[in-house]
Symmetry: C2
Subunit: 117 residues, 2 copies
DNA sequence: AAATCATTTCGTATATTTGCGAAATACAAA
DNA sequence: TTTGTATTTCGCAAATATACGAAATGATTT
């Protein structure tokens, strides 16, 4: 084994998605949106949640950045919904993670192979 | 609907567990330990990971706090392994979360019911 | 062009997280 | 009791996360 190792893409992805899920407001939003074909406007959400508009906007931005939701501009609103493709990816990753279906030997790799990304 | 709402236990639990999973080092540790009956000493892990002993200790503490691992003292080592009961709980919660098996109506509840906990 | 509405960005404050090395702790063996 | 080994805690610094209200943005309607 090489001395200096980096995490594989799968490990980094799991950590990144988990981070997006690490706040109750974001869990709530995702649960609501993931209900079959459900979409929401920011204004709908702010009325249900115990936070201000600007703070909600930050949470939505984080979920977008993580790829878990997407926003469609429907002036004067923005309609949010789940990014289905990435949602399925998250589903698969977590299922493998929690069921021990990932190869331990694939959790780390030599730095060299990542340096040039 | 009441004016002031709180998140349900399920939402808070999902966020809390996700937070514990939100760092690559902790994902790595869990993946390694979750392999059937696998246990590790802190010293084993520090040799594989690109972090110092004290930092690793912090990550282990967080995973313990989240209830995902447990440490058994085997002098002069501490043997870490998965907390199977809580691991199964996490599995169940994430499976429901990702498959839309949680009732949206159960995501929030009135503050009163939580105040006296 | 001005007014309006939903949403985001900015500025600020505070709290938490992550990391390291040094010091402290816990335990067993000499 | 002293020594040695494994691990954790402490003190510090830097980075990130969370929250709010005020101001800015984008697009439509008047």
């Amino acid at each position: 084994m090489s001395d200096k190792l980096e995490f594989t893409q799968e490990v980094l992805e799991l950590a990144r998605i988990s981070k997006a899920l690490s706040h109750p407001v974001r869990i709530y939003i995702l649960l609501k949106l993931s209900k079959m074909d459900s979409c929401c406007y920011s204004g709908d959400l702010v009325e249900e949640l115990p936070i201000g508009r600007s703070t909600l906007s930050r949470h939505l931005k984080e979920l977008k950045y993580a790829g878990l939701i997407q926003g469609e501009i429907k002036p004067p609103y923005i309609k949010y919904c789940i990014n289905r493709k990435n949602w399925e990816r998250a589903k698969k990753l977590f299922a493998c993670f929690l069921d021990n279906d990932l190869q331990v030997s694939n959790l780390l790799q030599e730095t060299e192979s990542l340096i040039h990304l």
